[in-house]
Symmetry: C2
Subunit: 569 residues, 2 copies
């Protein structure tokens, strides 16, 4: 039982299946915001569409109390003034349950086809979503477009692909025939039905509402579940647009649009979310956010499969380099990118206190630290260019954390307020870099300091650096780990530490790839093997528990005749 | 990096991969205890091997305190007198951790190859294990051989196959090349390593120690984990033999045998198990047993992936039949088989109070009940033959439950003590069947009465029967569900109820297939979609969370040259 939208997108799905198997570069969603690809007026149309949302009530035809909520502010300095229909949890759960039987019965081809059609429409809205991501998260536009648009769409398609890859392996029917010696065989017809779990809840974050939200939304949809999307109160708009597009596609395809619904809230929504997360109707939860909230969900929402991405301590080990300037330049970009407000941004940079080997000879610890600091200073030297890397600070918590971190040790580069040429009220802060020592400061650097905060840490040796990297990842979590070494044995040892810490390793990045960026279909985001996340985006484990198989069996006439009583000799 | 044992068993693994994809009949492990298959002396050799275990200490060269434990009694009336080396939890966890790095580094081919070699050796020991299962569980020999031997081996191989099927899809290496317009492409070499979670704990049950224990053991091994096997104190021997064989294979293949260890205990081991289950080293738990203990694990062992099979209420809906005698005969066998001491045995039989249609016309509720009762009476009419179906009662709890259940309603067939011709002290009890009514007795039949206890329940209609079946499965759990109807619309409605209840449906079984028996590679045992089990044996979800992938990436020279500056027009 196929579906027209499956047929429409089948070629893309097949390419995606090949991509996750070979893990080479591939994407159907162009990452450059180019007029040639997206259309000459796409950028201005998208910006206009974004601006049209401001200072009015977002239109969404789902169950509502009639009231509105919403209090988003752009980190670039403007109040968005958008209000969203307020919904009661009971009404949303009831509408989600009501939408289930038709959606469940539609079957896997429809789930995949509708998911892919939604993604195609989202891709067309990449500029509108990009501006919305920019003005809720504080990302600079290029990043907001790429990470919030095509890259998020890639991660969504990846989840759909993993779901389809498992589901397609379950036959709809089987013929089972068991020999019975001289008697006729036992023969049965069996039927297998993929059955979703029920309602999924996706809890968005304020820094990557679409990139971190889409995998859960689309993994749920592609396995036949209905979804309630609960954005972070500070970054509702990108997910509201997403939900509206999903509902449009569902409605046009003849489905109840309540398969996907939005639960917009204002700040202090913790008690509401905790109540909702424990409701028996909620069978799947995808969460991105703090370790405290994620762990609470893992330990309390027993009725649901819970997928979490939480805090971690990302680490860089510098052992030996050819050219420290190229290394420093790559690291500085990673530290400055979106002001380190990335779950993948590096924080701890380990350097042996005896210094490191370079192609120009031994370099002292202090000179390494100075070179790293100089690279940061160079990057922010032209504020007008720098703000296109750093974006703005998303919330006051990050601002306060920079102030707190400044007290932790000797400042190598202080965080500065940068003027944004286009947005005078934007909260822009350059990276803060401190010097610490493993002998005295362990308690300081074994926790996450989310934001533009990094530490150059003196260690006794590279061996100790690697040991720290592995054990801190295992104990405190990590999403990224990077090593710089010209010695193959050290690189091998780093891979060993990565395996112990359950964290992906990047080796000697000095060019256009940065440790905090991963590529869908090729890089697993997170491993699920350390406390930073209990799952990876995306793999089979991320989707396998979102559905179950119900079967039937009934006797039929055997196709094979029983052996004759006397076989010819 | 392949492994000689992988190569040796690769053809079998490929056949198993085909079997789980097509779900037709297949098995590499012959289920008939035939001298032609297993050897002329296999049965007597196996019985002798079993008897050689009695009244002595089981030899196992793993860490031990020097003391011994063990207090197994055969439900057929003999004390086994077997003592097992006592082990401290700390020593086992330390030895398991010490065995990990070599086993992890051996890689997926070794994990699969060693697992398959162990299964081949277990198959050769099927008679020894069969007699051991018989005299710990109380199963009659034929069932003990089949369910405890080849069928358990099939479920183990199925788990290995699902694990391999996922792992083989992760490439060891990838080349990733991302175009950069006019600039040279970004090119990276990536490496992917499958990493096990750590130590798995398998908690066995007293009725199917191997059948329910093997999937977890082999799913763990095939994904590179080490395993501690903690049998039920009443059924240690089959798993002790299994662990010894596994250790022999590991040792011969050059691995630390502590990859698989036994934790034998005596009764009242609850506190020890609870402490062990919460240890941070334990990353995977497979449990078969009571709802109380299973739910405790699910709610408390947050550090582990927990797979549980718990209690359920299995149901039969009788709507209309061609030949009630054939129906009754099939049901009676299902009720009597191993005295209903199966998680899959039916308990609630719903019949409309107005009676049912048969090919001989309408038959009243009471006549249906009488026909079912008569079939049970006929089956037990010859005790010497009946005991080969019923086996013996495993424990005093089941004996007490029969006495309690007798008070619940009108007795249709009373449970009798049957004399076993070979074992005069065996505890053999025939099925108890009672008459209940949905209008008054709901509280009685919405819980599991584990053992040879069933209820013929008068309902207002087949529609109500199906509604009960779906809702009781969803709320209280169920592993099996059976419908008898000559009406296609009713069968379709039953499949709808099965989907709502998340339970497999058997339709009109009147021949040699029984609702409480499932076939590996074809039937999923459990669905994971209702409270009776949070996973199915086996599917992708059962294995996907037992491993993770750690990757590395490093720049390499691009294979593709960048586009030339001026393309030909």
């Amino acid at each position: 039982m196929t579906h027209p939208l499956f047929t429409k997108h089948e070629a893309t799905l097949n390419q995606a299946l090949a991509a996750i198997a070979t893990r080479g570069y591939w994407s159907p969603f162009p990452e450059m915001p180019s007029p040639k690809v997206y259309g000459e007026t796409a950028s201005s149309d998208g910006e206009a569409a974004f601006k049209a949302h401001l200072n009015r009530t977002f239109d969404l035809d789902q169950p509502t109390t009639g009231e509105t909520v919403g209090n988003e502010r752009s980190p670039f300095g403007l109040a968005l003034g958008i209000r969203y229909p307020k919904a009661s949890v009971d009404a949303l759960l009831a509408a989600s349950a009501a939408a289930q039987s038709q959606w469940r019965a539609a079957g896997p081809h429809a789930w995949a086809g509708v998911s892919l059609e939604i993604l195609t429409r989202l891709n067309k809205a990449s500029f509108e979503i990009g501006y919305s991501v920019m003005h809720t998260t504080g990302q600079a536009f290029m990043m907001a477009f790429q990470a919030g648009g095509p890259h998020a769409q890639d991660r969504a398609l990846e989840a759909v692909t993993y779901a389809w890859d498992l589901i397609r392996q379950i036959p709809a029917n089987a013929y089972w025939e068991k020999p019975q010696g001289k008697n006729p065989p036992l023969a049965m017809h069996k039927r297998y039905t993929v059955v979703p779990r029920g309602t999924g809840l996706v809890l968005g974050c304020c820094t990557f509402p679409t990139w971190n939200g889409y995998p859960g939304i689309f993994a749920d949809l592609a396995t036949g579940n209905t979804v309630i999307v609960k954005p972070h109160p500070g970054a509702i708009l990108p997910l509201a647009i997403t939900v509206r597009i999903a509902r449009d596609v569902l409605r046009e395809a003849g489905f109840d649009p309540n398969v996907v619904m939005l639960l917009a809230t204002e700040s202090n929504d913790g008690p509401l979310v905790q109540d909702l997360a424990l409701r028996p109707e909620i069978k799947l939860i995808d969460f991105t956010g703090s370790t405290q909230n994620g762990t609470w969900l893992e330990r309390n929402a027993h009725q649901a499969q819970v997928y979490t991405e939480k805090a971690g301590v990302n680490q860089i080990v510098i052992d030996s380099v050819d050219n420290l300037k190229a290394v420093a330049s790559n690291i500085a970009f990673s530290l400055a990118l979106y002001s380190g407000q990335m779950c993948t941004a590096p924080q701890n940079i380990y350097v042996p206190r005896e210094g490191i080997r370079t192609s120009d000879g031994q370099m002292s610890f202090d000179d390494v630290a100075k070179t790293l600091a100089a690279a940061v200073e160079k990057l922010i030297g032209d504020p007008a260019r720098a703000v296109e890397v750093t974006g703005a600070i998303q919330n006051d918590g990050v601002m306060a954390r920079i102030a707190d971190a400044r007290q932790l040790g000797e400042v190598l580069v202080d965080s500065q307020s940068l003027a944004h040429p286009a947005f005078p009220d934007a909260h822009v802060r350059s990276p803060l870099m401190l010097k610490l020592d493993v002998r005295t400061d362990t308690a300081k650097f074994t926790q996450e300091w989310f934001g533009p905060i990094s530490f150059v840490i003196a260690t006794d040796s590279t061996a100790q650096s690697l040991d720290l990297a592995g054990s801190i990842a295992a104990e405190h979590g990590a999403l990224t780990f990077s090593v710089y070494s010209t010695d193959d044995a050290v690189v091998d040892a780093a891979y060993g530490a990565a395996i112990r810490g359950g964290v992906a390793l990047s080796i000697n990045l000095t060019g256009g790839v940065f440790v905090n960026q991963t590529a869908a279909y090729s890089d697993f985001h997170g491993t699920g093997a350390n406390p930073a996340a209990n799952s990876a985006l995306s793999d089979a484990a991320y989707v396998a528990n979102r559905f179950r198989v119900v079967q039937s069996r009934v006797h039929v006439a055997p196709k094979t005749a029983p052996p004759t009583a006397s076989q010819p000799a």
